[in-house]
């Protein structure tokens, strides 16, 4: 209960938020802050307890769903709790930031609902223990993020980008579901906890399931080659970018890899794939980020770089690598969300996000500048900030290994240096030096809401505190988290100071070269051959998307061409084909004639030539009157048949109806179109074939119907009860007005509606007519 109550409360707040925020913004803000603060404190408390050795909290509601395929069950190990803290704490800051960002404008009112639904879904993803339950929340994050990215839905680009994010993550999500189902089916359980236990116990999961689950993770975390949706998602409002695209949603893939790490570890191929994809993503982010000039885009690309590094570290899989991954992730959540908020604040204040036109804002926005620089230095790994801790351990890991770990060291060095230069470029360029000639007017800078400053400032302070007191605050927690991912107990104590070691030296080299690169380069915005090549992946997506849409519309153009004749031909041929197939597959069983109840009198045989002649007349005549008379003859013949077959009521009714129809027909025959032949003979031959086929088929089916009995006739009871219950001797009438009275009521309603329709059309079609007295009624 304590695990899933936060999810329910957040959903509840989301449901009422549009009205609440419109009526009373102050109390809504208070409620949101209290809720998220409470949740963050709750999860911190749980994590501290779990890290100190308390049992893993879990919660479930049995029998909520009537099937075992989905269970309402939650479980929170240290790895899960770490995510819940990031989600709620950064959620709180983003919530405040959004209040400042949208101000009291109308525009923000529907924002909070999507944001809170997203937060609840994200909590569900990281807390669910049942795979299918996790999938449900996973898809809910995709859907709610679609609404958040497309928040400025009047812009075509925002809609396209939101759809792209939805499709890429959605397709990955479906793959993941398939993987879950395969794994759950072969292992007989859908519980993550059980899966981990089985994998650690030596069972090997099916490789195809792992590959499918991995597909879900890499699309969600925007890993290579699906990286393109993340930078495009920057068309979202900044609060969304800083929440979804730095701290939470894009980390869901990393979360999944961590949660199922023991399973992935069983396959060396999967781990190597992770390392390669992670490395490629990291490099791609750096290369593409380097040529960008848009603040938010650069941040998105550096996020890609970090996500790639996390995937790489997960793929390495050693306890040391996992430690680094956890530290890097905590650090990244703090500084990246803050940097996004700072970039959004700059955008809001100046109306400009282009680095080439920004500069000299430090006098106008001093507090933001300091916070921004602090965040960038944390990202760069400046001691003793939080980023430094992670990087130091990364280098230490590189130096501790041998052989290929030096390649890793070089790679990490390049990525870290590049990221540091980019971080400074994003965070400090807008503030340093003088205002460029074409930059925004400093005097026109709008004052910022303190709510928008809260996020960057709080996160800067958090970075400093977590860095300074890392051994005290983070040691037990990181140890517990790594133990859960690794599946085996890992002892861990964090140190800030490792003495003079090669790692420390390399850290300082990184800092110095990063600073030097930052000083000596300027963003140009010009692409090069590599960026064009990498853009090809998005091009491929676009081609697939457009090809699918174009193909679909061509296909509907062929199938739905508006020609009634074409539809009917397809329908009749399809029916004929299906029945013929059934007949063929049953070994051409010949329909046997049922035993006749007696000789057929000659008048009934006479009906056959009558039918033949008059039906031929109907289909060939070009005179409307002739057709009408032939139709009447057919109707009378059928009425005669009814009378011979023990159905006098039917004969009488049909007689009446035919009379009415003939009168009506004669009355309006001149208003009806003439009968003429339109299509050429060649085309008619096909139709004659289809019609003949239908005739033969229906004859055989009618014969077959009479020799097949699957159930005793229910009308026996009708006959039995007719007099006893309804006091009627004409059983047909009793059925109509008694046993199936509701049917008859419906029938009368239909006739009444038809009469109203006929009346309306008659009056409208004949404005000179005196009245609607011609309207037939039943």
């Amino acid at each position: 209960m304590t695990l899933y109550l936060p999810i329910l409360l957040t959903l509840l707040l989301a449901a009422v938020s549009p009205w609440w925020v419109a009526r009373h913004r102050g109390s809504f803000m208070l409620a949101g802050v209290l809720l998220q603060l409470g949740m963050a404190a709750h999860f911190v408390k749980l994590l501290v307890a779990v890290a100190a050795g308390a049992p893993t909290p879990s919660g479930s509601a049995d029998n909520l769903f009537p099937t075992d395929l989905i269970q309402w069950s939650f479980m929170a190990g240290p790895w899960n709790l770490l995510f819940t803290i990031m989600i709620t704490a950064i959620g709180l800051l983003v919530f405040l930031y959004a209040l400042g960002y949208f101000g009291s404008s109308e525009k923000g009112h529907r924002f909070y609902a999507s944001l809170l639904v997203f937060e609840a879904a994200m909590l569900g993803v990281v807390l669910a223990d049942h795979a299918i339950l996790l999938f449900l929340f996973w898809e809910l994050t995709s859907v709610s993020s679609f609404f958040l990215i497309a928040y400025n839905h009047k812009e075509k680009e925002a809609r396209w980008n939101a759809l792209q994010a939805l499709l890429v993550t959605g397709i990955g999500g479906v793959c993941m579901l398939a993987g879950f189902l395969i794994l759950g089916h072969s292992w007989g359980s859908y519980s993550f906890d059980a899966w981990r236990g089985m994998a650690l116990g030596g069972m090997t999961p099916p490789l195809v399931a792992l590959v499918l689950i991995l597909l879900g993770a890499i699309t969600k975390s925007a890993l290579f080659p699906f990286f393109f949706w993340l930078p495009n998602a920057m068309s979202a409002p900044t609060p969304v970018s800083s929440y979804l695209h730095s701290a939470t949603m894009v980390k869901a893939g990393i979360f999944l890899i961590g949660a199922l790490h023991p399973l992935f570890e069983t396959s060396r191929g999967i781990m190597i794939t992770l390392v390669i994809l992670g490395g490629l993503t990291s490099a791609t982010g750096l290369v593409l980020g380097w040529v960008q000039t848009d603040l938010k885009k650069i941040l998105a690309y550096t996020t890609l770089s970090i996500l790639g590094m996390l995937a790489l570290l997960m793929g390495l899989g050693s306890p040391e690598a996992l430690k680094v991954a956890v530290l890097v992730m905590i650090g990244h959540a703090c500084y990246k969300a803050g940097l996004f908020m700072a970039a959004g604040a700059v955008d809001k204040a100046t109306g400009c996000r282009d680095l080439r036109r920004l500069g000299g804002l430090k006098r106008a926005l001093p507090l933001l500048g300091i916070a921004s620089l602090g965040l960038a230095l944390s990202k760069a790994g400046f001691p003793p900030l939080l980023g430094f801790v992670g990087k130091e351990y990364a280098y230490k890991m590189g130096f501790a290994g041998a052989g290929e770990s030096y390649a890793l060291l070089v790679f990490l060095f390049i990525i870290n240096t590049g990221l540091m230069a980019l971080a400074l470029r994003v965070a400090w360029t807008p503030f340093r030096g003088d205002v460029p000639a074409d930059g925004p007017d400093p005097s026109a800078i709008k004052p910022l809401s303190p709510l928008m400053l809260a996020g960057p400032v709080v996160l800067t302070i958090t970075g400093v505190l977590l860095g300074l007191f890392a051994p005290l605050l983070l040691s037990p927690m990181v140890g517990a988290v790594v133990s859960q991912i690794h599946g085996r107990d890992v002892a861990f104590s964090l140190k800030l100071w490792h003495g003079f070691q090669p790692a420390l030296l390399l850290s300082f080299v990184t800092l110095a070269s990063g600073w030097w690169i930052f000083r000596s380069t300027r963003p140009t915005g010009a692409g090069n051959r590599v960026t064009v090549l990498l853009g090809g992946f998005e091009g491929a997506y676009g081609a697939c998307h457009r090809g699918l849409m174009g193909g679909a519309s061509r296909l509907s153009g062929i199938l739905q061409n508006g020609d009634l004749r074409f539809y009917l031909r397809c329908f009749f041929t399809g029916v004929l084909g299906l029945v013929a197939y059934k007949w063929w597959s049953s070994g051409f069983a010949w329909v046997s004639l049922p035993e006749s109840a007696g000789p057929v009198p000659w008048v009934e045989w006479l009906m056959l030539p009558v039918f033949l002649v008059f039906l031929f007349l109907i289909v060939t005549t070009r005179s409307r009157i002739f057709a009408l008379l032939a139709l009447a003859v057919i109707g009378l013949a059928i009425a005669f048949l009814f009378a011979r077959l023990g159905a006098p009521d039917l004969a009488l009714t049909l007689l009446l109806v035919e009379t009415f129809t003939v009168i009506l027909f004669i009355h309006m025959v001149r208003g009806l179109p003439k009968i003429r032949t339109i299509v050429p003979l060649r085309s008619r031959v096909v139709d004659i074939g289809i019609a003949a086929g239908m005739g033969v088929m229906m004859t055989l089916l009618a014969l077959k119907t009479q020799s097949v009995q699957t159930h005793e006739a229910i009308s026996n009871t009708h006959t039995e009860w007719s007099y006893a219950l309804a006091k009627g001797k004409n059983v047909v009438n009793v059925i109509l007005v008694d046993f199936r009275a509701l049917d008859t009521l419906g029938e009368i309603t239909v006739i009444a509606l038809a009469a109203v329709g006929v009346h309306m059309l008659w009056v409208k079609g004949k404005p000179s007519s005196k009245s609607g007295s011609d309207t037939p009624s039943s």
Partner: protein, 116 residues
């Protein structure tokens, strides 16, 4: 009897199908009327037993002769006849007022575009 009935059903269906596949509006309308007849007969042919004696009871509430006709298909057909009548009248009037608004008797052209 069943053979005659089945052959008639087949003939009606064949004629109705052929008419429905025409492009002339009148022929399609005739096809709809014929299809109604065909289906009614088909329903009746499913009777068990298919008898010539009407399902009318005697004084004591039981059939005078054994083997009366199955009343249920008859009840269903009766409903179908009446509804079919409503349908055909409505369709005829609709076709007429449509034809008066725009004099097109080709079903393909009717579906092409909305004309004023």
């Amino acid at each position: 009897m069943t053979l005659v009935l089945s052959l008639m059903i087949g003939l009606l269906f064949a004629a109705a199908t052929y008419c429905l596949l025409r492009r002339n509006l009148m022929r399609v309308l005739i096809g709809i009327l014929l299809l109604g007849h065909a289906v009614n007969l088909l329903l009746l042919s499913a009777s068990d037993p298919l008898s010539r004696v009407p399902a009318i009871l005697g004084k004591d509430g039981t059939p005078d002769v054994p083997g009366t006709a199955d009343p249920l298909p008859q009840a269903l057909v009766l409903t179908a006849i009446v509804i079919g009548f409503g349908l055909s009248v409505f369709t005829l009037v609709l076709a007429r007022s449509c034809f008066q608004k725009m004099p097109i008797d080709d079903v393909r052209d009717l579906g092409k575009e909305d004309q004023p």
